[in-house]
Symmetry: D2
Subunit: 465 residues, 4 copies
């Protein structure tokens, strides 16, 4: 509750056309990865036309717009919620003219050597119109294209200079190219239906367009679709694998399967592990909607304590919600969540959530349960404690804002007013995803990152993809 994934990408190559509409539905399925802005670029007879704006997919596009775009290739993007100026400028796809006509790029992730790259290009005469990593990636590809004979070679060469997280899809007049950083921070998968090929951040977008999941794009792999055929460049594959494990815990949609691991099952596993690590005597296990529900089912199964619904979430609380003036933080939470008094009154309750960032929301929710009559509230978190920020494409904030950086588990427990508090241990974290054919980045929990963060990382990074 409160953290944001930073973007989702989708791409389709279908000689039969209709690719803009297909991308529209793909983005709908990925909307949970970003609600600030979105865009689609379609390739019509080698000319790229695009539309992007601030807003949800359903608001930015209409039938007329999609029909005008059509296309035999298309890529799309959803972007997470930031505030302030330039929001429209930073929307993607990023479409440019360069030495070989047009290029469109979408990007999920965050680079850590942005400053160096920007500096490098500026010293060669570049001008930057946005604060986004994507503009740097486009420059990099354009510069490489001067030396290399094809756009995929240019992509292959240019990504060697990118440090950090990137799952990108590039569309040229004739080719659709997907690439993933060698660490594999952000997910990106391949789908197929008939002769058409698809790329998507999550498999739920493939389901949304009735495509079949084929496989993940490998860390470091570049996948090229040309003339309807798919081939790979594996120059940059280094055998590493550090996928963001928080995708399983919070970001991804439960019906997605990432690296062979069902997200839903992973969350349930997290609940089971929690029950093993932090058992408690109680009458009811409930989850904080929506992401805590799966883990609550797992905890209930493992512990034998009955599962129940503890809250009703208000589905209409949107971005324009006015925080009450004369009222407490609890009042705001009270609008968003209604406690099911009939369920919790007189009971010892285990409440599962996916994370504690600042602790204020958790405190309000615990209070809500007590007012509804819960006699005990035992909080269980389906992830370890956040002790360090994320530099690779999510907005897990600076240490100064993380309650677990400053306080022990017992102190946090007291601060949020719980009777007991338990986090999933870092040691057993990886057990939530036994089917995952990949390694993980757990930097926000361990402060150990596969790539060094920039020395002067100021957290003012407006330009994540």
């Amino acid at each position: 509750m409160g953290l944001h994934e930073e973007c989702g990408v989708f791409g389709v190559y279908d000689a039969k056309g209709g690719c803009a509409e297909c991308t529209y539905y793909g983005l709908y399925a990925l909307q949970h990865r970003g609600q600030e802005a979105c865009g689609i670029a379609a390739n019509n007879n080698r000319e790229i036309i695009y539309h992007k704006d601030v807003g949800l997919v359903g608001d930015v596009f209409d039938v007329q717009r999609l029909r005008e775009m059509n296309g035999t290739m298309a890529i799309g993007h959803v972007r997470y919620a930031t505030t302030g100026a330039g929001r429209r400028m930073n929307a993607q796809p990023f479409v440019v003219n360069y030495v070989k006509q047009q290029l469109a790029v979408v990007h999920n992730g965050n680079l850590v050597n942005t400053e160096e790259l920007r500096d490098y290009f500026e010293h060669r005469g570049a001008i930057f119109q946005t604060a986004s990593d994507t503009e740097i990636i486009a420059y990099s590809i354009a510069a490489s294209r001067l030396k290399y004979g094809s756009v995929e070679e240019a992509v292959n060469h240019s990504v060697k200079h990118l440090k950090g997280a990137f799952s990108i899809i590039v569309m040229s007049p004739r080719k659709l190219i997907a690439a993933r950083d060698p660490w594999g921070f952000r997910p990106l998968c391949i789908g197929k239906k008939g002769d058409a090929w698809y790329f998507a951040s999550e498999s739920c977008a493939l389901d949304g367009v009735e495509a079949e999941y084929v496989r993940e794009v490998e860390p470091g792999e570049i996948v090229v679709v040309e003339d309807g055929h798919l081939r790979s460049i594996r120059d940059n594959c280094q055998g590493m694998s550090y996928m963001c494990i928080f995708e399983y815990i919070y970001f991804a949609r439960p019906d997605s399967v990432i690296n062979g691991q069902s997200v839903h099952i992973a969350r349930r596993n997290a609940g089971r592990l929690l029950a093993q690590e932090h058992p408690v005597e109680a009458d009811l296990v409930i989850g904080v909607p929506d992401s805590g529900l799966d883990a609550a089912l797992g905890y209930a199964e493992e512990s034998g304590i009955p599962y129940g619904e503890g809250f009703v979430k208000n589905r209409y609380v949107g971005r324009t919600f006015i925080t009450p003036n004369q009222q407490s933080r609890e009042a705001a939470v009270r609008i968003k969540l209604g406690a099911l008094r009939c369920q919790v009154a007189g009971k010892r309750v285990v409440m599962i959530d996916d994370s504690i960032v600042r602790g204020t929301t958790s405190k309000a929710i615990v209070n809500l349960l007590r007012q509804a009559g819960a006699t005990e509230v035992h909080v269980r978190i389906s992830a370890p404690e956040f002790i360090s920020p994320c530099y690779f494409g999510t907005d897990i904030p600076d240490k100064s804002l993380l309650i677990s950086c400053k306080y022990s588990c017992d102190e946090v427990c007291r601060k949020i007013g719980a009777d007991s508090l338990g986090f999933l241990s870092l040691e057993r974290l990886h057990e939530i995803a036994p089917d995952a054919a990949c390694g993980f980045c757990e930097g926000c929990f361990s402060e150990r990152y596969p790539v060094d963060p920039p020395a002067d990382y100021a957290l003012k990074h407006a330009g994540c993809g």
Copy 2:
């Protein structure tokens, strides 16, 4: 999935002011009862100022607007989604000048003698600017006020002529008045916090503003708040009680308590009853979100078959969703619901939903489960078969559109592609709400209505409240 409640009302009397803001939060909690339009009227030193428009509560109002309204009394309204012209005109509160200054009215329900009343007033020189029942109610009160010495007497007299469902709140320069039809079709409850009094369609709105639930407004009762004191007129109370039972099954929010019966528990009871009436051998019980989930828990508990999540609902599918052109109805459902393959694959599944109207959506959902690998799909509906429309404030449609009017249960089962299909029996329907201190209208299931519907009811009634 697909039916709509027709409106929610809220009112507050608080001498300390801030009533517009309070109503804003009350309406937020009632937003599930209507998403088309909303409005608030506030009483500032006996002058009524109001604002209403098409849109969600969070979009129509902002901080500035609420501050300008303030008030020591306020009433508000959310309206369900209709289409076409005059939508803005039909938004409520309905505010008029009449012989005794100003009057504001909000209304939930639907009258069945609209034509007679309209005719009556038109033959006395009335002009009607909208197609809403609320305008007729206002006329009726204004006309009565000429003969009676107070606004509450006028309300008391005028409602005697109204036939059908109405839960109204009336605000005069000095009084806040709530009234409910003698049959008690639509819910309306009373709340209290300190010296302040509240009226709301559902108790979840009282929770939203931290007010305490006091009791229901009785069928036929008129409740008057004047100078901070509450009193009742029970002239029209006839000892009848016919509350819409579908409020428990679908319309109301699970955390509301209506007539002493928790909505969540009622749904769970419906699931339990279904398990008794239509048992089946299966591996998993799932619910169609959101309203099928509670009943699924009940079915699982009663049957001993494990409960699980079977679907992920896309939270971003709004009113602007474009129905796919080149794709099937299933494709549209596929965007809205993602099946959890990891849960249902290889399993015999019991799927709980709250109703079948036309059958097309049910068919698409069953198909979704089969494609996700379910070996058997047993559909259970937590209500009896719809065989007749609703004339009292919901949009349960005409017989020609109700699949159960035309086909037997077996035929419907085949049409939706299920392995078995079971509805809750009409006989045991009332058992879902054992704690409810009221009787029920079950007209849509039984075709027996407590009030005769109009002979020529054309179902083109744009003017329900």
Copy 3:
């Protein structure tokens, strides 16, 4: 500069259809009479459909909207700029259901017995949803219709009770009816093209739709178009004639002909008369755009002093213009008007304007000319001094705001910084319109009104038509 006409009306009866589109063009030509809101109601097979909103004609309507309306009759309205709440509610046409189906009304003017009428109807049970005279007129017609056998008889009877200015067009399922108050305050004329009939506030709207001017609707006359034929009811014609003379001076469009008198010629005549009454030695005659230009031409012709352009008006200063914070009133005028230095520098200038209300704008304009190098500035006003407000449909304000109520002509001259100042005399005012076959209301200049204003006229009259 700064005064506003209060509304324009248009109506068309054409059995061939396309009446909504025709009304759209008619309203375009009348847009100078009101820029706040507009609306069109069209009659399609005896059903009236309408659309109205805040905004200019070109913004409120688009092709799609007009096509949906079509119609074999239509009426339309443009409304002047007021501020604050309820603006949308007060837009016209006013469309109601009453005892004989539907009725649409548009109104230009202002009643002075609003309070009595409202009181009368409220004591018979009426409710009022707006503050507009038009609602009262509709009530009056509806009430009369109960006693009289046709809508035109109801109109005929009901207007007998209206005191003040009204030029109305009423559309019933089968008839189009125009009516004008017995004093003839506001203009209303009849046009024809083929079998089609037209009503319009000014003849320029007839030109706009290529219809021929037929004649004025007479004061007190009711004109009925039924089955393509036009007939008159002259019950209320009392041989009076008091048309607002300020229509000629300021409100009407110069290419309109009202009561046989060209507006352009009238303004030129005003200039000629001014030259006779207030001659001066000077080098150049200029007008304040737009309405002062015609009078300036007349002054130049009569005086023999050369005519020239003295100002460039900024055509893009709209309603959203931000008044400069740190700058003087002159700065605001400077954005709206650019002085032509090449014309006025070193010259003795006669500057013609149509009125002085508060005097602040005149002062700024005089200063502009001096800064541009004019050696003398002689101000001539093509109307007498405003000494009293208007109660009959314009916003000439209360005495407390009229500079000529408080100061002598010499004092005003000093206050606005002119070298001399001359107003057209009240005695010769009527000479501006020698061709006009009517008498005039000159109440704002003489304080003598043909109808007594209400005793307690509070100038808060939000509800003028």
Copy 4:
């Protein structure tokens, strides 16, 4: 009527701040040079913040926005009306980050070597996000900045490579720089008030902010304001002078003075010359508003034929005007222009306009006069015949669309239905501006351009500044 200037620019350096607001008023005065889009960039403590969007100045900016921008330097831009995609992207100022922090650029004009420049930069790795010349200019400056020690030197060097028309203003963190192409196609002048410096496309913008006109920026000159002081670089001054003479005839505002020549006087001179070259016996001289009015005054003065107003222009015809479906082109003109029947009926009329492009509008206007009763219509055009397009910043179209390319003057006269037709001769054209201290580009009239247009000029140039 129908041609468009392509942009206006404004810049201010004022250590006291308030520069964004000042630019707002400057742009208001330049709005006639472009109504599609506008923008302002302000320099706050060396940080450039900007806002730009599609729309008029008064719609795009509000008080809040201007206050947030403030600044001790600011530049602004108004852009002419094009259609279609990317309109928002092409709005100016163009703001970039480059090797030396930030740079903002506004541009009026059009380059003819765009393709070569784009090609050059693309072959060095550049990516282009818009189709505008301004992006190329920014690249050029950024690339030069690598080799030169200051931003003004970079500007000086980079503009040497630009071929065509450019009047640009560049804002760096510390400097405000204006530059004009060596031919001096587009105007650009310098103003002063106290310690503040101003740049503007026309002097009317200086009047709008009460600044004094100082002088023109010379062709080829670069003017730098730094620390409040102004200095010049004249490296690129080549003693040439080819200002667009159509600025005097049509584009510029009459109250502007360009190169010492009053625009109003120039138009009057054009009228006088026309009277000498194409005299005719007639009763009345009228102008087509707005730009024909001044020339009509001149024709009247020279010929002795009385001047009068012949038309009323509808001030409310905006961009959303719906062209009538079932009606003729004349009907559209009829909405925009009302003929003053009282003036022209029974008269031989000389009608002055500024140009004939396709001839269709002229034909409709002549027809309007005849229908209003003119017995003869003699058309006089205050410019020579268009025989060639403009490549330097206006939208005078391709030869195939210019009626005078295909037909003789006599033929055009017949086609537009006039009794006689006369154009100002190319030989005497320069006599309209006797006070102008500059030479002229008359390419659209003579097909002789001071700079060769590109061989393959496709007229699809979306990217003019």
